[in-house]
């Protein structure tokens, strides 16, 4: 069923009786060509691009809970391409281009809204680092504009420019940065993949990976064994446990990152604002809630919930930057499991087991990467070769020292 404004009107006139299920609920078959473990954003986009770009539709996505129930459904929805290291630049640039065509590609309104992202800086040193970043973005063919203090004030008049602790010196504007409706991305990819014949199997937890003579042969699940020629592990914060089923230890630690949303308010913040000195970023959703977040809680955790120190730190940062939000009330807080790699960049690579692939290590930035991650992972799984945009996302780069450390905090865990 194709979605359109006409269809919405027609269904409105006949009492919404004609909508078909958004996806099927198939029981898993005994065998697939390709099995994807994990029905989150990255797994679903991988399934879609396997079907669309490579014609592979004998594919199952196995999800232990419900589709899109992981980080794709619990993030702050920011979409941007403002990386500066070669290896990241081209990947996120490609991802943003895919975002820009996603509604048409999926026939689903993911509400991608390029309202502009502004990274604030507060010292000459930070400015120079952002200039380097902005120039890298332009070198890549993306957009960036350097704003001075007055330029920021013109766009964001409500910030506290009298604030003396970390005065606002200026900002780097990424006009094509913005947000999207997180759940819709998962649903859009799921629906599109389902329509191409991909089996999306929910409530199906993988409990083992079958390997024979160094080659993957299938998976064990709570709904029975499934044979497969190719298996992709795309399980974000749970990557460590799934990889362990194949005897692997990953360069990944799982951490908690909290985020917050306020009660609905009339529009007051039109952009995405990032306040690095306070580890604080904010935007306003179309429903009117202020969506914001901060830094990791900084301890390994699978609890999907955090503690007060970081909650309060985030609120304090908000109050120092934009005290006009003081009267907004936080409605809900939540936490996601972040698959943190030592250098803060992801992994899309083969594994030592033939036919077994892995896509993980998205740290706290996986949402924007959903389209390109699926694109590149599908390419890798279909062809056996790394896509050019993801060629540096290697599993062995920590051993070899070919790191992708955007934050400069090291190739050791937990320094970023």
């Amino acid at each position: 069923m194709r979605y359109s404004g006409w269809r919405v009107i027609a269904e409105g006139l006949r009492g919404q009786r004609g909508w078909a299920p958004v996806w099927r609920d198939p029981a898993p078959k005994a065998e697939y060509d390709t099995v994807i473990i994990g029905g989150g954003g990255h797994g679903l986009s991988t399934a879609w691009y396997l079907a669309k770009n490579h014609g592979l539709t004998d594919v199952a996505v196995l999800e232990k809970g419900y589709l899109g129930g992981g980080n794709v459904g619990r993030n702050t929805t920011i979409v941007r391409a403002n990386y500066f290291l070669p290896g990241n630049s081209e990947f996120y640039s490609h991802s943003l281009k895919l975002w820009e065509g996603l509604e048409a590609e999926l026939n689903y309104n993911v509400m991608h809204s390029q309202r502009g992202l502004i990274n604030l800086f507060h010292s000459d040193g930070q400015r120079d680092a952002f200039v380097r970043r902005g120039n890298a973005m332009i070198n890549q063919g993306d957009d960036a504009v350097l704003l001075d203090r007055e330029g920021v004030r013109e766009m964001l008049p409500y910030l506290d420019y009298g604030q003396t602790r970390f005065p606002i010196h200026g900002g780097l504007l990424h006009p094509r940065g913005g947000t999207a409706r997180h759940d819709a991305v998962a649903w859009g990819y799921a629906r599109a993949a389902d329509r191409r014949g991909v089996d999306l199997v929910q409530n199906c937890e993988v409990t083992g990976i079958d390997i024979m003579n160094g080659r993957v042969t299938g998976v064990q699940t709570t709904r029975g064994a499934i044979r497969a020629r190719r298996v992709g592990i795309i399980t974000a914060g749970r990557s460590g446990q799934v990889a362990a089923m194949a005897g692997m230890r990953l360069p990944v630690e799982s951490h908690i990152l909290q985020a917050f949303v306020t009660e609905g308010l009339k529009p007051c913040i039109d952009h995405v604002i990032s306040f690095g000195m306070g580890h604080f970023y904010i935007s306003q959703s179309d429903k009117g809630g202020l969506v914001f977040g901060g830094d990791l809680d900084f301890y390994a955790s699978y609890a999907q919930r955090g503690n007060l120190p970081m909650v309060e730190h985030v609120m304090e940062a908000g109050m120092t930057l934009m005290p006009m939000i003081g009267r907004a009330k936080v409605l809900r807080s939540w936490g996601g499991i972040m698959d943190m790699t030592p250098d803060g960049s992801p992994i899309i690579d083969r594994t030592p087991v033939e036919g077994l692939f892995i896509d993980c290590g998205w740290n706290y930035g996986g949402f924007k990467a959903v389209p390109a991650s699926g694109w590149c992972m599908a390419h890798l799984m279909a062809t056996g070769e790394s896509h050019d945009y993801a060629r540096r996302f290697r599993l062995d780069r920590f051993a070899t020292g070919h790191l992708l450390d955007e934050e400069g905090t090291g190739s050791q865990h937990n320094l970023h």
Binding site: S4, G12, P21, G65, Y66, P86, S89, E90, E103, Y108, N109, M111, R115, S123, G125, D128, V131, R132, N135, A136, N139, A144, V145, L146, Y158, Q163, R165, F166, A184, T262, E263, L265, K266, P267, Q284, D286, K287, G288, A303, Q304, L308, E312, M315, E316, A317, T320, P323, M324, G326, R327, A328, V330, R332, P342, T400, G401, H402, L403, G410, S411
Partner: protein
């Protein structure tokens, strides 16, 4: 209004706990009304006959109060102050005070005539998730047209847009037992624990403690509920070990007995004086009792959202607590026994009452008409309820009523128990979720929060929970019996949604109907999380407290599953929304992070130096003199001053770590790449420190003050990180070594005295003058005007330079004195700007260069990794990716035309290459105008840069529109032989 004059809510005599002797004036949407001390905005508006209090989120439907508490989904208002306003305030919570100004929200132009209600007419097209299926074409229209329209229509109240400058506070509290909720169970628990000597906090969301004892007023111990509650509270108030915290909502349960709580301190006062508006508490409790009661839930039936439709418990509360009869002709619609008492009370207060009991076998024995096996199937009244239609086996009847009191049963208020991911269990007899034990370690539910809906049971259960907590705490319970009270039988037959034409609302706050949920199920959003996200059910300000269970039941029905199999969504903190200002209290302006000041701060400020942030520190940027137009004028002068005579700079922000012990030398050899055990006493050496991952962590000088005594300096930025790192290496890897470390950063004030006249200057004040034999990179103790001081002959400027350190208490005096003496030599103080120019001219790196991604190899210091010993980071630095011609290496950059600025952050390209990503070969890290060389200079990283000395590369800064050729050179521009600093 469509309500006849003899209808609608009214204040009745002889009821309520308000103080009628204190009338108050307040305004709502500009119209002035009267109320009493003890009223909420909602009760006062009802007392004035006002039922319409808000507009719904999506369809802008007229709405009145549903509840009498913080869970209110409809009556959200804006409290107006001069120049400030607070949106989304629950009219049911906001206490009345004289002069209070309140406005309705989410309507235009007015509450009774809201043109946005056009959405309601379009409702057939606006079903759940419709926006995912449209607005896609043409693409540009989403951001330019559709989204702005949606954004404007959405949202509830409006922020003022002005800084919130009001006072807020945060505080910590500790206790043996936190009792959450001061109803019958909570009061009994607090009394039992208090008498046993436990340190107790009793927190209650309401302004007045007592819970249902106030709203239902059962007879307890032979007395009216409120009286019994007052007696208990009076006793608790006399106990020093009890802290009563009314107006305090426990908002979240966190790890290890930590709870968040929001106290509304000044929100109920016309004049707050010095009081904060709110205080956010972090309460650490050894044990906690969740006695938060239960919340009544509505039933979904067609057009169940009109002003005048409210919960039966709310109608009872308005009567008993505030003396307001919610209507003159009240229909009570219920599926359980609990609402009968309400109907009787409403009748006793003078209302004409009828009961519609959905249960066919319910008793018909009442003093009012009882319709059994009947359901409300429709309502009328545009801005307020006028009539209802009820349907039973005999057919449909229309009744004229001005209030419909609904009870769909009760849900235990178990949210806090779920904050640590615990899932409650379904109790089929209660048709409700009840908490399981140990969902939150140390927290025990009691009373209605545990599914005991009878007052007698609540009193007894509070006592039980207290006794268990006391046993855990090792305290002996005092003798105490629960008082006698009448049983209130509770039987229920589930009724979630009444079928029929028209929309039946589940989530009033987000305008989610039964049909939306069934549509979600039909579209295969069958998981409860999918349904929630697709329909937005439960995501509005009331967090689904009024509707989640019913929506779940509708979903279960639509998908042919039972409620327990369908599951629940997760409850997350906060339990009630909390203002950002309260949780962020203290963060305003400079309060966000600590401020660290050097001892020279006042003197620098007195010299009009702009003080800029360096980490948590403040350092002078430059010291302007009269006649200097820009910072560059001052900076150029200060650089020339240091190069020509002498300058003084406070360098106390550098980290200083005192390292002592027989193994101190060995320890330094291990944490630095180079060797310190060979350093003679009285000498200083530059040290390079790696992280264990092989990248440069920090650099600095370390002095050997004695055979077993070293003093390390770190950069300002990395001082804390280095201290932590050294402690780790010492404790984790060198546990049996005899070495001790301590930070002495704040104990010593340290000043650089640099320039050809540096020695002359120091000699004017030293007890024993320096001679030329105090060698470069020497150090030693000395006396400075009678004060024990330390002198280091080190230079970050490339000139003859010393750093002199004195105990911090002498810093301010020494700085003033040094500056004054420097001026007699034609010198003076210099700031960070000049410091930066001086170090760039010398090619010294800072964290602009050692930014975390660079290796010793990159900055040309690979040879500093000593061959004969192990050190932190050595093994990892040997990884193939961390060295080689592909790496970007530190270089100096000189522009082809010296007057053209070098641009920090610009990228570097081979002269003939286009400025695109795949040709980028490096970037500029630092740049300055060098008054010494009469040229702009830059430091940067360039691929294989050291081998490219002399090559012209293209520098491109797209952002600043700068582009030029630069010559690659050695990073030391000034005095490359180092004769000046050694001289």
């Amino acid at each position: 209004m469509s309500t006849p004059p003899n209808a609608g809510p009214v204040r009745v005599a002889g009821y309520g706990l308000i103080d009628r002797s204190e009338p108050l004036r307040f305004s709502f949407d500009g119209v002035e009304y009267g109320g009493c001390r003890g009223d909420t905005v909602a009760s006062a508006l009802l007392a004035n006959g006002v039922r319409l209090m808000g507009r719904s989120f999506k369809y802008h439907r007229p709405r009145g109060v549903l509840t009498a508490g913080a869970e209110e989904p409809n009556a959200l208002v804006t409290v107006i102050e001069d120049g400030q306003q607070t949106p989304n305030v629950r009219a049911t919570v906001q206490e009345l005070f004289g002069g209070l100004r309140v406005a309705s929200q989410n309507r235009w132009p007015s509450l009774s005539l809201d043109l946005m209600a056009v959405n309601d007419l379009a409702a057939p097209f606006l079903a759940a998730g419709f926006y995912y299926k449209t607005f896609m074409w043409p693409r540009a229209f989403w951001e330019k047209l559709y989204e702005p329209l949606i954004r404007r229509a959405a949202g509830l109240g409006r922020l003022s847009g002005r800084h919130d400058d009001a006072p807020y506070e945060k505080a910590y509290a500790f206790c043996d037992l936190l009792v959450i909720g001061a109803g019958p169970a909570g009061l009994m628990a607090a009394l039992a624990a208090g008498r046993a000597g436990a340190d107790v906090i009793l927190a209650e969301e309401d302004s007045r403690m007592g819970g249902r004892l106030l709203s239902e007023q059962p007879v307890v111990g032979g007395r009216p509920g409120p009286e019994w509650a007052e007696t208990v509270l009076a006793e608790l108030a006399t106990m020093p070990n009890i802290r009563l915290m009314p107006r305090t909502t426990v908002t979240g349960a966190y790890d290890h007995g930590t709870f968040g709580a929001l106290e509304r301190v000044g929100l109920h006062l016309a004049e707050t004086g010095p009081l904060p508006r709110e205080c956010f508490w972090r309460i650490v409790a050894k044990r906690a009792i969740l006695a938060a009661g239960a919340l009544e839930r509505p039933v979904a039936f067609p057009d169940n959202d009109r002003p005048g439709v409210m919960l039966a418990s709310a109608a009872l509360a308005y009567l008993n607590r505030w003396g307001v009869l919610a209507g003159r002709r009240i229909a009570v619609f219920a599926n359980n026994d609990g609402a009968r008492a309400t109907a009787r009370a409403l009748q006793a207060a003078g209302a004409e009452v009828m009961l519609i009991d959905s249960r066919p076998n319910a008793s018909a024995l009442e003093d009012f008409r009882v319709w059994r096996g009947a359901q409300v199937t429709g309502t009328r009244g545009r801005l307020g309820l006028r009539e209802i239609t009820l349907t039973d086996s005999a057919g449909s009847v229309t009744l004229e009523v001005d209030c419909l009191a609904v009870s769909g049963g009760w849900n235990p208020t178990l949210h806090l128990a779920c904050h640590m991911n615990g899932r409650p269990e379904w109790d089929a007899a209660l048709a409700a979720f009840v908490p399981r034990p140990d969902m939150v370690p140390g927290l025990e539910a009691a009373g209605a929060a545990r599914g005991l809906f009878d007052t007698a049971a609540c009193l007894a259960d509070g006592l039980r929970a207290a006794r268990e907590a006391l046993a855990d705490l090792g305290l002996k319970p005092a003798a105490l019996e629960a008082p006698e009270t009448a049983d209130q039988p509770y039987a229920i037959e589930p009724l979630w949604a009444v079928p029929g034409r028209g929309r039946a609302w589940l989530d009033l706050a987000n305008d989610v109907t039964v049909k939306d949920v069934t549509l979600a199920a039909a579209e295969n959003f069958r998981s409860v999380e999918h349904m929630k996200r697709y329909t937005t059910q439960g995501m509005a300000p009331d967090q689904g407290r009024n509707s989640n269970v019913a929506a779940l039941a509708v979903l279960a029905d639509a998908t042919g599953r039972g409620i327990p199999e369908t599951g629940t969504t997760t409850f997350r903190p906060p339990y009630s929304p909390v203002s950002i200002a309260a949780m962020g209290a203290g963060g305003r302006a400079e309060g966000f992070q600590p401020q660290r000041f050097m001892t020279s701060h006042q003197a620098s400020v007195a010299r009009h130096a702009p003080m800029i942030e360096a980490g948590l520190w403040y350092r002078p940027s430059y010291f302007p003199l009269p006649g200097e137009a820009t910072w560059r004028d001052a900076c150029d002068r200060e650089v020339a001053m240091v190069r020509g005579s002498v300058g003084v700079c406070d360098v106390s922000t550098l980290g200083k770590i005192d390292i002592q012990g027989p193994d101190a030398a060995r320890f330094l050899d291990f944490v630095y790449t180079n060797t310190f055990s060979t350093l003679p006493v009285g000498r200083v050496r530059y040290g390079l420190m790696l992280r264990e991952d092989g990248h440069v962590m920090d650099d600095g000088t370390t002095a050997r003050l004695g055979e077993t005594h070293y003093l390390m300096t770190t950069t300002t930025a990395a001082a804390g990180q280095v201290m932590r790192h050294l402690d780790f290496v010492r404790q984790a890897h060198c546990a049996d070594w005899d070495v001790a470390l301590i930070s002495v950063t704040e104990q010593w004030a340290q000043f650089a005295v640099a320039g050809p006249k540096a020695r002359d200057l120091l000699n004017t004040m030293l007890d024993e003058p320096l001679t030329g034999d105090f060698p470069f990179m020497g150090c030693g103790p000395l006396r400075l005007m009678g004060v024990e001081a330390r002198l280091f002959r080190i230079s970050f400027s490339g000139e003859l330079g010393y750093e002199i350190a004195v105990p911090a208490r002498y810093g301010a005096a020494l700085f003033r004195d040094l500056c004054a003496r420097a001026e007699t030599f034609g010198g003076g103080p210099y700031g960070l700007e000049a410091l930066n120019v001086l170090r760039i001219e010398k090619g010294f790196v800072t964290h602009a260069e050692i930014h975390g991604r660079v290796t010793a190899f990159d900055i040309g210091m690979a040879r500093m990794i000593a061959a004969g010993k192990d050190c932190i980071g050595k093994a990892a630095a040997a990884r193939p990716g961390l060295s080689g011609a592909e790496r970007e290496q530190l270089v100096g950059l000189k522009p082809a035309s010296p007057q053209t600025p070098v641009s920090a952050g610009a990228h570097l390209f081979a002269a003939a290459d286009p400025a695109v990503r795949k040709h980028s070969q490096g970037y500029v890290t630092s740049a300055c105008w060098s008054p010494t060389l009469g040229s702009w200079l830059g430091l940067g990283f360039l691929r294989n840069g050291r081998a490219r000395t002399g090559e012209m590369v293209r520098m491109v800064d797209h952002l600043r529109g700068a582009e030029m050729l630069c010559e690659v050179c050695h990073p030391v521009f000034h005095d490359p032989e180092g004769g000046k600093m050694r001289g």
